[in-house]
Symmetry: C2
């Protein structure tokens, strides 16, 4: 039964991200949203697998949303696998073949095409897992202790 907890402030891409993150958990991948791997780049979802796998998922709510993204190839070097997440109405023929595809709504998602793997070098994986950890911890800190003065991670 779908829940009814749709915060009205979530944008369409963030609603897809919500479904994506829920689904990734069933693959034992934990995830965060809007992580900044390097200055000027912000990924919609970064997921961390049980063996330290790093996946990036960009959520596109429409053709225009996809076509305005000039940066996506810049994401590839920050992950082992790269996916698009789109809803059922999205014209998936627009998406490049060599990327993964996740069909999502705000409640759940499904991996339709596994992304090819390009393994991160060990040093970069270490940096990314640590960025992921700091991102998640600082946000969880703000949630469990609203009185804390939060700095950027």
């Amino acid at each position: 039964m779908p829940d009814t907890t749709l915060p009205p402030t979530l944008r369409p891409g963030q609603l897809l991200a919500r479904g994506v993150c829920r689904h990734l958990l069933t693959h034992d991948f934990v995830s965060v949203e809007e992580l900044v791997p390097t200055s000027g780049l912000r990924v919609d979802v970064m997921a961390l697998g049980p063996k330290g796998e790093v996946w990036v998922i960009e959520c596109k709510s429409s053709r225009a949303d996809f076509q305005s993204d000039q940066k996506w190839q810049g994401y590839l070097e920050w992950c082992d696998r790269f996916f698009w997440a789109v809803d059922a109405d999205f014209p998936t023929e627009l998406l490049p073949d060599e990327t993964g595809l996740i069909l999502a709504d705000s409640y759940d998602a499904e991996i339709v095409r596994m992304a090819p793997e390009t393994k991160l070098a060990a040093a970069r994986r270490k940096v990314m897992v640590q960025k992921f950890a700091r991102h998640a911890a600082i946000r969880w800190h703000g949630a469990r202790d609203p009185g804390v003065s939060l700095y950027g991670p």
Copy 2:
């Protein structure tokens, strides 16, 4: 000005942990509470520094709380530095010399004695940073999306 957001369900040790986590952030260390490094062990606070440093802080609210802890030496192998966190009334002469000391209340804390450093081996650090990341991410996920079905990390 102290805030007034004291959830009534926090135990004395958890109140100390709150102050500890707030203070660690001023050192650019992010932290989580009640992480399980290995089956049968649960640390009160695990903190992750900007260079991947792993600290463990055990919070003791009273002499009895300290004396009933038979496991603390087992924590040493899971961190670079180990600290006790106690309040101003705690008889600190009970605490072993070769450990760090943090004086805490529920609002803030102060590192009174830096813990000696025993660096984790690279493989174990990698495991711990990943455990930290998964712990933080899964809790933050539950906080930002109350509708998610959460599994243990």
